[in-house]
Amino acid sequence: MPTDERHILSRSLRHRLDRILGKGRLLTDAASLLVYESDALTHFHEPPLAVALPRTTEQVAETVRTLFEEKIPFTPRGAGTGLSGGALPPEGGGVLIDTCAMDGILEVLADDRMARVQPGVVNLDLSLAVKEYGLMYAPDPSSQMACTLGGNVAENSSGPHSLLYGPTCAHVLGATVVMEDGAILHLGGPHPAAPGPDLLGSFAGSEGTLGIVTELWVKLLPIPEAVATLLGSFADLPTACRAVSRMIAEGVRASAIEALDRLTIEAVESSVFAAGYPKDAGAVLLVELHGHPLDVEHDGDVVRRIFREGNALDIQQAEDEEHRKRLWRGRKGAYGAMGRVAPDLYVMDTVVPRSKLEEAIRRITDICARHGLRLANVFHAGEGNLHPNISYDRRDTEELTRVLAANGEIVEVCLELGGALSGEHGIGIEKRAYMKLQFSDDDLAAFEDFRRAWSPELLLNPGKLLPTPRACAAVKGRAARIPDGEGAP
């Protein structure tokens, strides 16, 4: 619908939703709604009509059924840590269905290494809860202290250790999903995948556009016997990238290979997250190995050899848990530390084949230099997943224009190198206009058809993930602003 024609929530509809959700569980006052206008990609704002805070699958289903009857669009939301605008309310007015209060760990089958959970469980809380059984939940996005499992499934999120363990979809066995019309669908369950097309797998990463997750069966893994954390420092990032390629080609079974460049190291080392990274290094690689102590020792020897042969300036290995935590503190606190460099940080997310890492880094560096931008890189090198981070000040509109132009060029370079638009943050509204650069019209039509098969009325999180006609026009004209960026500051 055109954005100037806004949906409204009538008083009677508000009453109906109130009755379904219970007292105080439908937020409609402006002050409460304010925090729901954005997710962690703060360029975009959209006020919701209301926010529903359901506690059960039935409440979600009834809320959805009611909105469906009234043809009011709606968007599921978790913790709002998404970085592509996925949890933003629908343009033109819509209701947010926030599943954070559905935060129960319902069942842990320790012997079978499975758990049944609600979508509002915070990622890290699940690992903490199953630790007493010697188990863990493997996907560990850097936002794991805040983000929810529902949001993780919707974004098919990954973390540093997904290099070994895979993304969220490799750890989800089953889901209860409320569909657009309020019907409840059970996909998969506490069992290995059954034969047939994988509806659950294709639901993962659907960014809240196909249904609302209200319960999950997830896989748990034994906590590794031994962990080794190594840090290699290098003269520059391309040299570090070459060491990454060697590790991949030689079959090092690392659980994480993370890279930080000079600017990031400087920011980290002069912040409370100081990790003891050598200050004169142009780049560091943080490599972690999980497994049997003898396997870890074996792979550790290989990593050290590759570091040495790859001209590492310095090699450290964490001597104890305290040291290990310190080395990771720098990586985990990198965004916080960079916050000191400039008021705003644009965290980009693209991915390239690992054989193209070095070239991608060189070209991205050139692009930012050409636009006079301050670039810092901290990324999941082992998976070719780049996060060029650009520091800027959003009040400086001219600078923001350059940031967005650079983003567009970076995306194009990564696609040219055989990469993809997003490795983990998703498309949301941030990258929807770029979809045309990666996919043909027929591919996009197949995506549209797939979405309509799930959500014929397109009431579920409309305007996300797929290009809208306006968004395409913006990217074709190579406008130096956020594509379709009417929400831009």
């Binding site: 059970h186 506490p190 097309p197 294709s202 080609a249 497994g291 074996h298 054989s355 990258k431 043909s440």
Partner: protein
């Protein structure tokens, strides 16, 4: 083009697939894709269906060791894929009873039998990208060559396992994994009447990287009166496996390692059993559930000279009886299998379900009406005229 009914169309490239599907759509002719040159028994089906053979599309398209991925055409056999990787230090996680005849396309689009799924995850976890032609005659590409990708819907996963009902795959990119420094396979032989549960539980908690753990009971491998056999594969550094050897030898009851060739033969035999002989029941569930189900089936198995193969890492069970024919409905009802499995969130399939000659869909875990409705809508969007493999699955009805 002539009437396609009953024809065999050999495709050399994607353009040929596109041409054939557009023509089939024009004629309203049914098409069944397959990896072999001639339709083999499971795919023969209806004689009026045209058989689209991908066998000539059997090449590696790109392979770069630093990417740890490979892109191949769908008609490439698993044996050829493995041969292409020899010496690279990398391997695919695909397995098949007969690597010389099973193709990458068939394993990705169809069924991919495996006893290492518990460790490596199902095949679809390793399919990074694909190209295909759908029933609407569109040439499509999803996913990519990158190992991490959340761009758009994951239709790669949807098409994996869709058994030629949505699109014909023309190119597949697979994630590879490093060949481990060392591998060893161990076998434990136990009295036939001993419950394997406790030993399996102990083995499962060993601190080594275990990629297979399988229990074989009855006459699965064709030897009458065979004791229960528990086989496992370990991978890791030589020092780790030496440590494992000491540990496994000291266990009571003890096991013994077998040679690599013998191990390969054992796994091939069990894969062939699970695919071709286990015609009476296939079930998937939590490991404790499939072990318990095996306990329930055992008396019947002994009675009917049957066999059970249980994947104790992946949570699958394959069961067969000596007599080919049996009234499944009757004995499933007698054992209350439906209620039993439903109560435990498990699924079961009758491999010989007539809906799909050999590779039948789930019987108890058959799609719910809502799921089926969704699958039918998805199928219509890919194949509006229903020309691809009609009548083969619940979501691709004959008309």
């Amino acid at each position: 083009m002539k009437d396609l009914a009953g024809e065999r169309i050999l495709c050399r490239d994607e353009a040929a697939v596109l041409k054939a599907l557009r023509e089939a759509r024009r004629q309203g002719a049914a098409i069944v894709p397959g990896g072999s040159e001639f339709p083999s028994p499971p795919e023969q089906g209806d004689a009026s269906h045209a058989y689209l053979s991908l066998a000539p599309m059997d090449r590696v398209l790109s392979f770069d060791r630093t990417d740890l991925t490979i892109t191949v055409q769908p008609g490439m056999t698993l044996a050829a894929l493995n041969a292409a990787l020899v010496g690279s230090g990398q391997r695919s996680t695909l397995e098949a009873p007969d690597p010389e005849t099973w193709t990458v396309g068939g394993l990705v689009a169809g069924r991919a039998p495996s006893f290492s799924e518990g460790a490596h995850g199902p095949v679809k976890n390793h399919v990074l990208g694909l190209r295909c032609v759908d029933g609407a005659g569109r040439s499509l590409a999803f996913g990519g060559r990158v190992v991490k990708n959340v761009t758009g819907y994951d239709l790669v996963r949807l098409l994996s396992g869709s058994r030629g009902t949505l699109a014909v795959l023309t190119e597949v990119t697979l994630r590879l994994t490093p060949v481990p420094p060392a591998t060893s396979t161990w076998v434990f032989q136990r009295p036939a009447d001993e419950d394997p549960g406790p030993l399996v539980a102990r083995l499962r908690t060993l601190p080594y990287r275990m990629t297979r753990l399988v229990v074989v009971q009855g006459e699965a491998v064709g030897v009458e009166g065979r004791p229960t056999l528990i086989a496992l594969t370990l991978e890791g550094a030589p020092a780790t496996l030496a440590d494992a050897t000491r540990k496994l030898e000291s266990l009571t009851p003890g096991g013994e390692p077998i040679e690599d060739d013998a191990a390969r033969e054992l796994w091939q035999t069990l894969l062939a059993f699970s695919e071709e002989k286990a015609r009476h029941l296939e079930a998937g569930g939590a490991v404790s559930v499939v072990l318990d189900l095996a306990r329930r089936l055992r008396p019947r198995m002994v009675d009917r000279r049957g066999a059970l193969v249980i994947d104790a890492l992946g949570g699958k069970l394959h069961y067969t009886e000596a007599a080919e024919e049996s009234d499944h409905d009757a004995w499933w009802a007698e054992l209350k299998l439906g209620e039993y499995l439903n109560a435990r969130g498990a699924w079961a399939a009758l491999p010989s379900d007539p809906l799909d000659a050999v590779h039948g869909p789930r019987r108890f875990g058959r799609p719910s009406p809502k799921e089926l409705e969704l699958l039918l809508r998805i199928r219509r969007s890919f194949d509006p005229d229903g020309i691809l493999s009609p009548g083969r699955t619940a979501w691709s009805p004959a008309s």
